[in-house]
């Protein structure tokens, strides 16, 4: 095989101006460029270039950019794709044009389920199924009576289901649950309801700004002081924790796919990233770096950009880099790797600016990602 | 002589956008005079008043009010020289009630009428004092527009067709009011279609045609020149 036109083009399609910018956005673009730099910008005599696209969280714009990248700019692979609606739309376009998609920031489990495209896409970092399972396996039995504050969308609901599955067998009960609209800023009413429920544990099944805001309200209204335990389950990236501040976020637990101390590569990457972006990377960004890196390795090895060829090679090669120590790309497109339950350190425990997390439990990828035996991916069944 | 000149308009031009309306108007008004501007529809009478007030933005020439050149001044500064303006379209504020309409214009000189005096003069308005301005009948709005400037203490008033749409009794009442104001030493420019009404009050008539002053008729000459007046006005 040959690399067409002597170029390998990578498109990072992400949100550069909206709410997802902090977890993906420019950080993802930078991460992709860092991966490219490790190849000196070249594979053999083919040059590697990176395009950045801002889908503005509009699927129309996303799919239109992706199509043009594929058809006009001859982009070989599109990555990041934060915002699942954009992800699905671009995945569909890639399938039709036989291009490659590496989802690193969108989380719907349907990417390796109903909508799976094993020959064209890989799902690299996390998914809602895994989040639920991780929580389900790892959430300690903090108490007997639980109250849920759940963000009203797939991610929050997956968390809620995961927690429920985890606590029920041990005899714990859910004494109340509210679904807060995505983007709620004021959680005081929900927090009061939690307080009134006399639960032992309040689980915050949400992420991003919602997670920070709800955590703040929990502290403000003195739930912790009153002896309740709080499991903030969706808080994720280090920058988000920084926004919340350790004072507020300390003690909360969440499932993550990455933290800086997993290996020396991760720490080196982190250092370099901070130099360039003045802030620590989050899992999506490290994931994008990892995805691009492994993609380029496979392209180099096969001397091809044909998705099927590249993906076949990637399946045969274990992933070990700054993102994970033991990743395996599965037939359905799922990259399976270890995940962690972490807890936020208190300000006293934290020794440096980004020293924020301690690991509570490590989990094997096989135990938390949806098993192939579930036959969730229809395209795989046909083969 | 110039110290009793309240207004001197010299070679004033005026435009609305691209259309040239005033073609070099010159006139003057002395202290305590009532002067009318008469002429057919569209002659430019209203435009002249708007030019004096500075709300016609494209204007040229010279307009001196009480010794001060105003051609470069913004309207609020001109008004504060002590001019009261009753516009043709009455300019009653819909968002203000009758009392608020009355209270709106700031006092520009001492000696304006009090609210009570005004309501005594126009009992109709007192009855409707809580009503939004534009809910008044056409005639009531006209009264309100006149009443409004009486409160400001302005000694120099520009009235644009103050009797339009008013019942005969009220026209007479306004005539009486104007006479009263004149006796109190106020200076007035009156734009009127109703010549019979105007002729009784005015010391001097400026006749306007196509944006120019084409004739000046003193009070004494009115009878003698009735024919040409009729032809000017198309009666």
């Amino acid at each position: 095989a040959q690399i067409a036109n002597k170029t390998v083009k990578i498109g990072v399609l992400t949100d550069l101006s909206g709410g997802y910018e902090q977890n993906s956005g420019h950080g993802s673009v930078e991460a992709a460029r860092m991966a490219v730099e490790e190849f000196g910008g070249k594979i053999g005599d083919a040059t590697i270039s990176v395009l950045a696209g801002d889908h503005q969280n509009k699927p129309d714009v996303g799919v239109s950019i992706a199509n043009r990248w594929f058809d006009v700019d001859k982009v070989d692979m599109v990555t990041d794709l934060v915002n699942s609606a954009v992800g699905f739309a671009v995945l569909d376009a890639a399938k039709a044009k036989n291009k490659m998609v590496m989802l690193t920031s969108a989380g719907s489990a349907d990417f390796t389920g109903k909508a799976c495209a094993p020959d064209n896409s890989v799902h690299w970092v996390y998914d809602t199924y895994q989040i639920g399972r991780t929580i389900g396996q790892a959430v300690p039995q903090l108490g007997n009576k639980w109250f849920f504050i759940t963000a009203d969308y797939a991610f929050g609901i997956a968390l809620e289901q995961g927690v429920t599955a985890a606590i029920k067998p041990a005899g714990a009960t859910v004494v109340g649950s509210v679904r807060a609209p995505l983007g709620t800023t004021d959680f005081s009413s929900f927090v009061l309801q939690a307080q009134a429920s006399k639960a032992d544990v309040v689980a915050l099944n949400n992420g991003g700004d919602d997670g920070i805001n709800s955590m703040k309200a929990v502290r403000e209204f003195g739930l912790l002081a009153g002896g309740m335990k709080v499991a903030a389950l969706g808080l994720d990236a280090l920058p988000a924790l920084k926004s919340a501040s350790l004072e507020v976020a300390q003690g909360s637990m969440f499932a993550t796919t990455w933290y800086p101390e997993i290996n020396p590569e991760a720490q080196a990457f982190m250092k370099k990233f901070i130099e360039r972006r003045k802030t620590a990377p989050g899992p999506f960004q490290v994931g994008t770096y990892s995805a691009v890196l492994n993609y380029l390795k496979a392209v180099q090895a096969t001397n091809s950009t044909d998705p099927k060829t590249v993906i076949a090679k990637m399946r045969a090669t274990p992933v070990k880099d700054a993102f994970t120590n033991n990743g395996v790309l599965r037939a359905d497109g799922r990259m399976v790797h270890d995940v962690y339950l972490v807890q936020v350190k208190s300000p006293q425990e934290s020794k440096s600016e980004w020293d924020m997390l301690k690991v509570i439990k490590e989990m094997k990828g096989e135990d938390v990602f949806r098993p192939l035996s579930d036959n969730a991916c229809p395209a795989l069944a046909k083969n | 002589m110039s110290d009793q000149r309240v207004l001197t308009v010299d070679n004033v031009t005026g435009h609305y956008g691209d259309s040239h309306i005033l073609h070099g108007v010159s006139m003057h008004v002395n202290e305590g005079e009532v002067v009318t501007i008469i002429g057919r529809n569209g002659a430019g009478k209203t435009t002249l008043l708007r030019a004096i007030m500075g709300i016609l933005t494209k204007r040229g020439g010279s307009i001196v009010v009480r010794g001060q050149e105003t051609i470069a001044l913004p309207p609020e500064r001109i008004a504060r020289l002590g001019i009261g303006y009753v516009p043709e379209e009455r300019g009653i504020y819909a968002t203000l009630d009758v009392t608020e309409n009355l209270m709106l214009p700031p006092r520009v000189a001492a000696g304006g009428m009090s609210l009570d005096d005004i309501y005594k003069l126009f009992p109709n308005l007192y009855e409707r004092r809580r009503s939004p301005g534009t809910r008044l009948s056409g005639g009531e709005q006209q009264m309100l527009a006149i009443a409004r400037v009486l409160r400001t203490g302005a000694k120099f008033l520009l009235l644009d067709e103050p009797t339009e749409g008013l019942a005969p009794v009220i026209v007479q009442q306004i005539g009486a009011t104007i006479e009263l104001m004149k006796r109190q030493g106020m200076t007035l420019i009156l734009v009127e279609q109703n010549f019979r009404f105007a002729s009784r009050l005015a010391d001097r008539h400026y006749v306007m045609e196509h944006g120019q002053i084409v004739d000046v008729i003193d009070r004494a000459q009115v009878q003698a020149r009735m024919d040409s007046i009729k032809s000017y006005l198309g009666i």
Partner: protein
């Protein structure tokens, strides 16, 4: 609406219209050979949407702040019809358009009695309810949206996955909508709408039930917005929450204004400019910088700046300014 630019109140000068028409048709036919067809398809859908919006604003002076509801809801229905019910392309679009018409009737029924900002706010409130439904109803798939909507074949013959077939089909739909709306503006009905817009009490006093006329105009505008939305859903294969979000209603106003309110081609040109900015300026080489110095600010900032400049300097919009210039040249 007292101070709309004169392009709104002035009937379009007919001597230019024919030339515009001819040029437009040629451009429409030749475009896919000059520009990227997928982009053009999207552009045409939004252009049709903007025309539908302009129809209501131009003919009735009613500024709707909820037109995204028709555009988006029709997209969901058409998408669902094609994907889940397996309806052919034509029927799916028909379903979507019809649902927009029904929705338009309901919206219009409650809103046309009011005007100005109150009208805008009622339409906004109703559209927000639709947005809420789009979050909650199962068939819209909340934040994931509908994707991989099958395009099917035109008349069962031509495969729409062929980009040229897709383009010309969309162009045909656009042309149909555009001409239909143009005809409507210049119909016996349109004539009465102009009268009603100019002076509603007078029209009532002449014996017209003005609310029925306005309702009719509203439904027609909603229907064409629905046609645009359905076509978009099938052509781009997606229907998502952004389609029903108020920002989409805002952006269609922007397109119309930028192109020239009340002008024939304004909404089309406006849609083109906005789409081009949204798509092209937002996808650049990762190390792109202006003069090697600045990163380009986000699209929102750029669009915001264009908006400001447009309102301050080119209030008539692009087409409006050109028309004005032509009129003045031929007039003097």
């Amino acid at each position: 609406m007292t101070h709309l630019p004169d392009t709104v109140t002035k009937p379009t000068t007919s001597n230019h219209t024919l030339i515009w028409y001819g040029l437009g048709l040629i451009a429409l036919l030749a475009a896919p050979f000059l520009f990227y067809p997928v982009f053009l398809v999207k552009l045409l859908c939004f252009a049709l949407f903007a025309c539908a919006f302009n129809l209501l604003l131009g003919s009735c002076g009613l500024l709707s702040f909820g037109h995204a509801a028709f555009f988006g809801a029709a997209g969901y229905v058409a998408g669902h019809a094609a994907k889940e019910w397996g309806l052919p392309f034509e029927l799916a679009i028909l379903c979507g358009t019809a649902s927009a018409a029904v929705l338009g009737f309901l919206f219009g029924y409650v809103s046309v009695r009011r005007s100005g900002l109150q009208f805008a706010m009622i339409t906004l409130a109703l559209a927000q309810l639709i947005y809420f439904l789009a979050w909650q109803l199962p068939f819209t798939h909340a934040e994931d949206g509908l994707s991989a909507i099958p395009r099917g074949k035109v008349l069962g013959l031509f495969d729409l996955d062929n980009i040229m077939v897709l383009y010309y089909t969309t162009a045909a739909i656009f042309l149909f909508g555009f001409i239909a709306m143009h005809r409507m503006t210049n119909s016996t009905f349109g004539q009465l709408l102009r009268a009603i817009r100019d002076n509603e009490p007078r029209a009532i006093s002449l014996g017209y039930e003005v609310n029925r006329y306005k309702l009719m105009a509203f439904v027609l505008s909603a229907t064409f917005a629905g046609l645009a939305g359905s076509t978009k859903a099938i052509a781009l294969k997606i229907a998502a929450l952004t389609d029903v979000h108020w920002a989409t209603s805002g952006s269609v106003i922007l397109m119309t204004l930028l192109g020239g309110l009340g002008t024939l081609l304004g909404p089309v040109v406006g849609a083109g400019v906005v789409q081009a900015i949204e798509d092209h300026l937002s996808s650049l080489p990762a190390d792109f910088a202006v003069f090697g110095l600045f990163r380009l600010p986000p699209i929102t900032a750029i669009i915001g700046a264009i908006f400001i400049i447009c309102i301050l300097l080119f209030r008539r919009g692009i087409v409006g300014e050109i028309q004005h210039w032509l009129d003045r040249r031929s007039g003097k």
